[in-house]
């Protein structure tokens, strides 16, 4: 590891518009006189791929529950691809605009992929698949292990539907969220 990988590779010369010329910089607080501040440059990603619960046919994005840094990431990227659990008629998603996060004109592409966040979770739809992630972690500690895992779960299935079929109905059904609590009450989580 290097202190500043971009500088170590001479990439902070100002020629690339998405790479800041400094990692950070100092400034003085001239508004409230509270001394030294540190400025950190904003990230300028080319693409954001976001998985959300619902998107309208025209691209209006609704995120249900905690929104982490979704809005910041979606607005920072030049190209925004939204993957959704479900695409709904635009007039339906516009019935409650206060619940929406991103207007349609910021969205470049929408893709309907139910269960698309697996093995992570999707609030209100399904639970994180902890067992799957633990298996991934345990099997991918070596290059050979990773290759074997990737062959099984990425290259060995022809598309996402085959991936879901490989997971199987029972596994997915147990992960499915309860409509009241918004998470699964049936998944085994701890040691008990």
């Amino acid at each position: 590891p290097k202190y500043d990988m971009l500088a170590a590779h001479n990439l902070r010369d100002g020629n690339n518009p998405v790479i800041p010329q400094k990692k950070f910089d100092f400034a003085q607080d001239t508004f409230y006189g509270e001394g030294q501040l540190i400025h950190v440059p904003a990230a300028r990603p080319d693409v954001c791929i976001a998985h959300v619960q619902q998107v309208g046919e025209d691209g209006t994005v609704k995120v249900i529950g905690q929104r982490y840094s979704d809005a910041e990431a979606m607005k920072a990227a030049k190209t925004l691809i939204v993957v959704a659990e479900e695409v709904v008629p635009e007039h339906v998603i516009r019935q409650d605009p206060g619940a929406n996060l991103i207007p349609h004109y910021l969205v470049d592409a929408i893709v309907e992929v139910p269960w698309g966040a697996h093995p992570t979770g999707c609030y209100g739809f399904y639970e994180v698949d902890g067992a799957f992630i633990r298996e991934f972690y345990n099997r991918t500690k070596t290059q050979e292990g990773f290759d074997e895992w990737a062959q099984e779960w990425i290259f060995g299935v022809k598309d996402f539907n085959e991936y879901l079929e490989k997971l199987g109905f029972n596994r997915l059904d147990i992960l499915r969220a309860n409509s009241a609590t918004k998470y699964s009450n049936r998944v085994k989580r701890g040691a008990v």
Binding site: A71, V128, G130, K182, Y183, G190, A191
Partner: protein, 272 residues
């Protein structure tokens, strides 16, 4: 039902280390406080506090939930369970803004190394540019530690973790190496008008440490049942002030153990 209403102290051997730590953490929470908590022990500690002495304490989890009232213990700060009956759910930007404006009374944090001034390292073991081990990095550690009024660290007690000087200051304690001069200054000096407080306790599997208000130096406050002050000193890499030790860390009550095992974490997420 017997354990539920039994407020006597449990004896050594009747509780696990993690339960002792959760109880010690819970006792740092005052009723009505806003607490920023991470995954695992801090969750157990604050939830236990809410069910005992601090029913009006509110928890913020960093993925963006404010005062959730989970009926099932979240497995992480981003778990859907954090959101159950929450006052507001938002995102990181919002909850860190709340920290910034000074709305958080207490925060629980962890670290790989700590020095006698409470400086914590979660970045690197060895030289920064030639590390022996690269750790996870800062996460929200310095932000939370700088902006909350009080911080409690929960760590493992090992000589190599309690050091005269940490390899890298990720999260500032009571005396800080100023940058770029390298001169050691007090936290109050470094933060100026933005000074709010700082680390008030380090809770480990052996003891609870606190910090002298004048010098900012760590001292031994209580020792967990089954350990002596000497055991603790033997697992601290700097000369530790043990003269202010007031005795044993208050052990869990049977009531608290019941809450932890039967009410808060019956699935055994963290108390296995």
């Amino acid at each position: 039902m017997e354990a539920l209403n039994n407020h006597n102290y449990a004896k050594p051997g009747e509780y696990k280390v993690i339960e002792y730590l959760a109880v010690a953490g819970a006792r740092e929470v005052q009723d009505g406080e806003v607490v920023f908590a991470g995954t695992g022990l801090p969750m157990l500690a604050v939830t236990l506090a809410q069910k005992t002495e601090a029913p009006k304490a509110s928890i913020i989890y960093e993925a963006g939930s404010a005062d959730g009232r989970p009926v099932d213990l979240p497995a992480s700060v981003g778990d859907a369970r954090c959101e159950y009956q929450a006052s507001v759910v938002s995102g990181l930007f919002d909850v860190f803004n709340q920290l910034q404006r000074g709305s958080v009374d207490l925060a629980f944090l962890g670290g790989a190394e700590v020095d006698k001034y409470g400086n914590v390292n979660t970045t690197v073991i060895g030289d920064y540019k030639n590390p022996k081990v690269r750790l996870t990095g800062s996460g929200g550690n310095p932000d939370i530690n700088s902006l909350a009024r009080r911080t409690v660290f929960i760590m493992n007690q090992e000589k190599r973790r309690f050091k005269e000087a940490v390899d890298y200051i990720t999260s500032p304690g009571w005396r800080i190496k100023n940058w770029p001069s390298g001169e050691w200054i007090s936290r109050q000096e470094a933060y100026g008008k933005n000074f709010r407080g700082g680390p008030v306790a380090v809770i480990t599997n052996m003891a609870v440490f606190r910090f002298d208000e004048e010098t900012g130096e760590m001292y031994l406050h209580t020792v967990h049942a089954g350990f002596t002050a000497k055991d603790v000193q033997d697992n601290v890499g700097f000369e530790l002030d043990v003269s202010r030790c007031i005795g044993e860390t208050t052990p869990p009550t049977y009531h608290e153990l019941y809450l932890l095992n039967q009410v808060i974490d019956p699935e055994g997420l963290f108390i296995a």
